[in-house]
């Protein structure tokens, strides 16, 4: 039911972990619905220098998290914001229909981390 690419990312997930003192954090999902995801980013000159994920969830949730970090790595923030759930699913050679919500979660997690970074920047500017 899963593509070989999903299984490959499930077996060898990229960028697992948590960045210390991150520039942005995105937390999405909740334990009741079964998937929880946390994405941390390091930003340098408006570019994602490093990105890591932690996920509690099914095979698709882990594979989409891994894929989204791979896609976001090194991208400009504006570019990273345009990574869509469809793009994540397509990069994994598709997901079963019931699993599409996992790719939403992964993309949402990344976008939340970027928004968190931007909110922090705004606060810094206001304080300055």
């Amino acid at each position: 039911m899963y593509s070989e690419k999903v299984m490959e990312h499930f077996r060898n997930p990229r960028n697992v972990g948590e960045i210390e003192n991150p520039d942005g954090v995105g937390e999405v999902g909740n334990p009741v619905c079964g998937d929880v995801m946390k994405i941390t980013i390091r930003v340098n000159h408006d570019r994602i220098d490093d990105v890591k994920f932690q996920t509690l969830g099914c095979g698709a949730a882990i594979a989409t998290s891994s894929m989204v970090t791979e896609m976001a790595m090194g991208k400009k923030l504006d570019e990273a914001m345009t990574i869509s759930k469809q793009a994540v699913a397509e990069a994994l050679d598709g997901l079963p229909p019931a699993k599409m919500h996992c790719s939403v979660l992964a993309a949402d997690g990344l976008h939340a981390a970027i928004e968190d970074y931007r909110a922090r920047q705004n606060r810094k500017e206001e304080q300055a």
Binding site: R11, P31, V32, G34, Q54, T55, L56
Partner: protein
């Protein structure tokens, strides 16, 4: 890599002796049992022999056993057939929250058609209280349907007590025995069962065949209409090879059942004890003693069921889970939720069901690979466990 199959509640491999018994009925003995000539009579004799074997494992009369396409059809037949046949008497049926969907969804269907259904709760072990059944019976009740043993958590229900209560109230009693027929002793008279569902492939028989026991004198309408097969109770040309296979499987089970139960319950208890010992934050689901001899069901906190299942599959081990991702819906297993297990815990459920061929070595291998799998998934999780 050798496959270690530990999902016998899902299906069992067809016994080679069963396949051998079935094979002639595809080719040489292909006749339609409803015909009068030689090959037809031969097929007819074969299905009657199978009927006797199934009946004898139930303590029933062969004339009370009817062949169907499987457990789902038998459950549908029991509920719909009884309720529609007794419309003059009443419109109420009683079942419980952890039934298989073949019963629960049929009860829901009947509710939408204007019937009333009481869905009884279960306790934290998945056990129905017979007194709840007694209290739920009213003047309009026509059927009580409580499964013999639960397919997910393995809890064995007090069916004899429930049967007695239903009998005293003059209400028909159906039990879904898909997980127990051929595995645990059943006596339809002692247990006061009026209808019982059987599936062939859960006891090393073929898929696509099952049976329903209907006590003589029970008011029921047929589910399938057409030819007059099965004493007009179930129309449709007989699945002769399948029926022969089910009969053979019942014959083998009658011999193997006792030793199989003893062998599996030892392995089961060892496996439960070892998982609880080797993995932290694990709880056993289902009843500690009143459970199927082959069933192990646990919730492992901080690891998701499908992720564990896929990881075990990578080691060649086949198991199942009641997580949302494996139930095909967005919710985890209705059985675990009905037992009061919080959704966030239910997502980490893992079901291991042993079979006739399961060895100690296979169990040991599972115990060797499971802890590092859980460890890896927990490390990947953003939730910090409290302990």
């Amino acid at each position: 890599m050798k496959t270690i199959y530990l999902d016998h509640a899902a299906t069992t491999p067809t016994d080679r002796e069963v396949v051998a018994a079935m094979t002639p009925y595809f080719t040489d003995k292909f006749g339609n049992p409803s015909t009068l000539y030689g090959v037809g009579r031969e097929a007819k004799a074969a299905i009657e022999e199978a009927r006797e074997k199934v009946a004898s494992l139930l303590g029933a009369d062969p004339g009370e056993v009817f062949f169907t396409s499987g457990g789902t059809e038998s459950d549908n037949q029991a509920l719909v057939g009884i309720v529609y046949a007794n419309e003059k008497k009443g419109n109420h049926l009683i079942t419980c929250a952890i039934e298989h969907h073949a019963v629960l969804d049929t009860a829901e269907f009947l509710k939408r058609r204007g019937f009333e259904a009481t869905i009884l709760p279960v306790d934290k072990y998945g056990m129905v209280d017979p007194e709840d059944v007694r209290r739920a019976i009213n003047g309009k009740t026509v059927l009580v349907s409580i499964m013999h043993a639960n397919n997910e958590v393995g809890t064995v229900q007090p069916v004899a007590e429930i049967g007695k209560i239903a009998r005293e109230a003059g209400v028909a009693f159906h039990t879904d025995a898909v997980q127990t027929f051929g595995h645990l002793p059943i006596d339809v008279n002692a247990m006061k069962i009026d209808l019982l569902s059987i599936s062939g492939h859960k006891l090393y028989g073929p898929k696509g065949v099952g049976a329903i026991y209907i006590r003589k004198g029970t008011r029921i309408i047929p589910f399938m209409h057409g030819g007059g097969q099965e004493s007009r109770r179930r129309a449709g040309t007989h699945n002769v090879p399948g029926i022969v296979g089910l009969g053979k499987a019942a014959e083998i089970a009658a011999v193997e059942m006792g030793s199989e139960e003893a062998h599996l319950s030892i392995l089961r208890d060892e496996l439960i004890a070892s998982i609880l010992e080797r993995v932290e934050d694990v709880r056993l689901n289902g009843h500690p003693t009143e459970r199927l001899p082959n069933n192990i069901n646990v919730c492992i906190e901080g690891a998701e069921g499908e992720a564990m299942l896929l990881s075990l599959d990578m080691e060649g081990i086949c198991v199942s889970s009641g997580s949302a991702c494996t139930s095909g819906t967005l919710n985890p297993s209705h059985v675990l939720l009905a037992m009061g297990i919080p959704a966030e815990i239910a997502h980490g459920s893992l079901r291991v069901t042993l079979g006739r061929s399961t060895t100690k070595k296979e169990i040991d291998y599972l115990l060797e690979v499971l802890p590092p799998i859980v460890e890896r998934l927990r490390k990947m999780s953003p939730l910090k466990r409290t302990r």
